[in-house]
């Protein structure tokens, strides 16, 4: 018998008992569908988290004030990053691979325009901020270096701030109030969504000098971002930044650093590893249902073998060998599980697509649907293997039947 004939024989046997076939593969269908769903959602979540983490690109090194080592977060040294650090880090002989160095100051407060108001994230930074964050205004332009030097009362506003304060448009050139100080809107940003560091849509950006002098009355920065020229120079640059800051802060012992450095690439890699591990863990849990499904198939196949004792006897009487019978029943269980696997993949893919649409609607962030090709291939392979493993025992029982016993069976 050829492969095709075995396939046909098993298909027609399964067709003879449609409802049982359907019920038998249910376990496999659910198991495979669950795996596909988990892997698809896992990949989607990973992509979302990574896009948030990588909001400022993997070439950036973030300097965070204070000691952020083990133990409870230290409050000592949270004001350690000053203007002098910014100046030293910007010098090419200190940090030769730094393409841009910008400070960041965070806050939030009510912004007002006439009768409208909105609680916005307030960011103080330099004129080079749009280069690092790829955030050029759609209307107007970003504030200039002169604005920074002169503590100018100018502001670039996010898309949501724009629609909240200026529901009828005309924001550009108007003056809005932040903490009762008046700022002129010089630029409006496109809708960008949130990254791990900056929420552009809900935010307003002003020169850091203006933020320090007029709004917060402080002299320190909450972050200093160093944008490295190429990814290959990240490690060198981290060292350069550390040396420079230790020098300006008079620190000899590296364990006494009053700053820490977050490398975006490391963070992205770590998040990737964690979400992947989590996805595979959940998929492994779902795989247990496949095991149960396989046992279900074995049970039904054993019942089927007993029921079809006469058929087996007849087939042997008209010339089927033991091998023919063994392969016929093995094919049946593999076709069963494979069928279950394919239906499971279709069902799981549909479910994860629907889930991605629903999540996208309910949550404010963008959730992309990902077809888990790896999961689909895995599903096909796993269901075939389950069919083989759990089909061997019933098939051997079938093949072992002696033709006369089988023909006599009522």
């Amino acid at each position: 018998m050829t492969f095709e004939q075995y396939l046909q024989t098993s298909l027609s046997a399964l067709k003879r008992n449609r409802s049982r076939t359907g019920l038998t593969i249910l376990g496999i269908v659910i198991g495979i569908a669950a795996i596909i769903l988990i892997m698809s959602l896992g990949k989607g979540a990973q992509k979302l988290i990574l896009s948030q983490v990588q909001g400022l690109g993997t070439k950036s090194v973030v300097v965070v004030p204070g000691r952020q080592l083990e133990g409870p977060p230290s409050t000592v040294g949270l004001e350690s990053l000053k203007k002098r650090d910014l100046e030293e880090l910007s010098k090419p002989y200190n940090v030769p691979h730094a393409a841009h160095v910008i400070p960041l100051i965070f806050g939030n407060d009510i912004t007002e325009y006439e009768s409208e108001n909105f609680r916005a994230q307030i960011y103080g930074s330099s004129d080079q901020m749009p280069v690092i964050f790829d955030a050029d205004p759609v209307e107007g332009m970003f504030f200039s270096q002169d604005d920074v030097v002169g503590s100018a009362n100018v502001v670039v506003i996010g898309s949501k701030v724009n629609t909240e304060l200026f529901p009828n448009g005309g924001g550009l050139g108007s003056r809005i109030k932040i903490k009762d100080k008046s700022f002129k809107v010089v630029g409006i940003l496109p809708s960008k969504g949130a990254s791990s560091l900056i929420n552009f849509d809900d935010g307003v950006i002003i020169p850091y000098t203006a933020a320090q002098n007029y709004l917060f009355g402080t002299k320190h920065f909450d972050r200093i971002l160093v944008d490295v020229d190429t990814e290959a120079n990240i490690d060198i640059t981290i060292e350069d930044v550390k040396q420079t800051l230790r020098m300006t802060h008079d620190i000899d012992d590296p364990t006494k650093d009053d700053f820490s450095i977050v490398n975006q690439k490391d963070l992205a890699d770590r998040v990737g590893v964690i979400t992947t591990a989590l996805t595979y863990f959940l998929a492994a849990v779902a795989a247990i249902s496949l095991l149960v499904g396989g046992i279900g198939i074995m049970n039904i196949m054993l019942v089927s073998v007993t029921e079809r004792t006469r058929e087996i006897g007849l087939r042997k009487a008209v010339g089927a060998t033991t091998k023919n019978i063994l392969l016929q029943f093995l094919f049946e269980s593999v076709v069963l599980t494979l069928l279950g696997g394919i239906i499971g993949i279709i069902l799981g893919t549909t479910a994860s697509f629907v889930a991605s649409v629903v999540i996208g609607r309910l949550a404010s962030f963008e959730w992309t649907f990902i077809f888990p090709i790896g999961g689909a291939v895995l599903g096909i392979v796993v269901s075939t293997i389950i069919g083989l493993i759990f089909g061997v025992y019933p098939a051997r029982q079938a093949a072992r039947k002696s033709p006369i016993e089988a023909l006599r069976y009522e």
Binding site: M1, S12, L314, K316, V318, G319, T321
Partner: protein, 242 residues
């Protein structure tokens, strides 16, 4: 002219052992069947005639003695070779038809071809011819469950004939049929022997059925009681004389 023996049985015994007790079902049986013969094996139930048929049909093995089928001793064959012989040289007709359920007449008749060396392109042709021979062409795509008992047995006969076997073993072929259908089947089997030259070995416990054969071997308690020619064979025309 010398006709070769298709079947040669020499002192065959069969003992079933179950636990401590062993039952001797066949106690040394010897006979021969020539090509083209129509032999009936008769005996009451428990006489061992079914066991004998299973051995002759290469479905079971004797405990002792020799069975020579078409010149070859059955002991020399592997499982594979026995399957091939059953497939190509033997046709079976059973009391309970043994058709595959929910399967068409055509597919049922094609079943032995599935295990044969016949190229696939000829399957439909051969099966259709066999179905035509038993007069069921108009039922070819019906499911086996929709047929009457007599029709089912005719499908089984077509299935037995499809590989053009040397011999047909018929085990109580009329046992599950009403007398009219049984008559038609027996006339058909007789026709296969007389006009198409098939060798037939029939098993039955009814004298009337056995008398369609040329020769009757009677078995009692695992031994041959008599082996003689039928003096007045029943034929299809008998029915009309009544």
């Amino acid at each position: 002219m010398h006709t070769p023996n298709l079947i040669e049985v020499n002192h065959i015994t069969k003992t079933y052992t179950e636990g401590e007790t062993s039952t001797k079902v066949l106690k040394g049986i010897s006979f021969t069947v020539k090509k083209g013969e129509f032999v009936a094996i008769m005996g009451p139930s428990g006489s061992g005639k079914s066991t004998l048929l299973h051995i002759l049909g290469l479905l079971d093995e004797q405990t002792s003695g020799d069975y020579i089928f078409a010149g070859h001793n059955s002991k020399g064959f592997s499982e594979e070779a026995l399957s091939k012989l059953r497939n190509q040289r033997i046709g079976f007709i059973f009391q309970s038809f043994n058709l595959l359920p929910k399967t068409t007449v055509l597919e049922n008749v094609k079943l032995p071809l599935l295990y044969s060396d016949v190229p696939r392109s000829e399957w439909d042709k051969k099966a259709t011819a066999a179905i035509e021979l038993v007069g069921l062409s108009h039922r070819i795509n019906q499911e086996s469950g929709d047929l009457s008992g007599g029709e089912k047995q005719r499908v089984a006969i077509a299935r037995a004939l499809v590989n053009e076997p040397d011999i047909i073993f018929a085990d109580e072929p009329t046992g599950n049929l009403d007398s009219r259908s049984g008559k038609i089947i027996m006339d058909f089997i007789q026709d296969l022997n007389e006009n198409k030259g098939h060798t037939i070995l029939l098993i039955t416990h009814e004298t009337a059925t056995a008398e369609h054969a040329e020769r009757i071997i009677r078995i009692y308690d695992g031994e041959i009681a008599s082996d003689e020619k039928v003096k007045r064979r029943r034929t299809a025309s008998d029915e009309y004389l009544k």
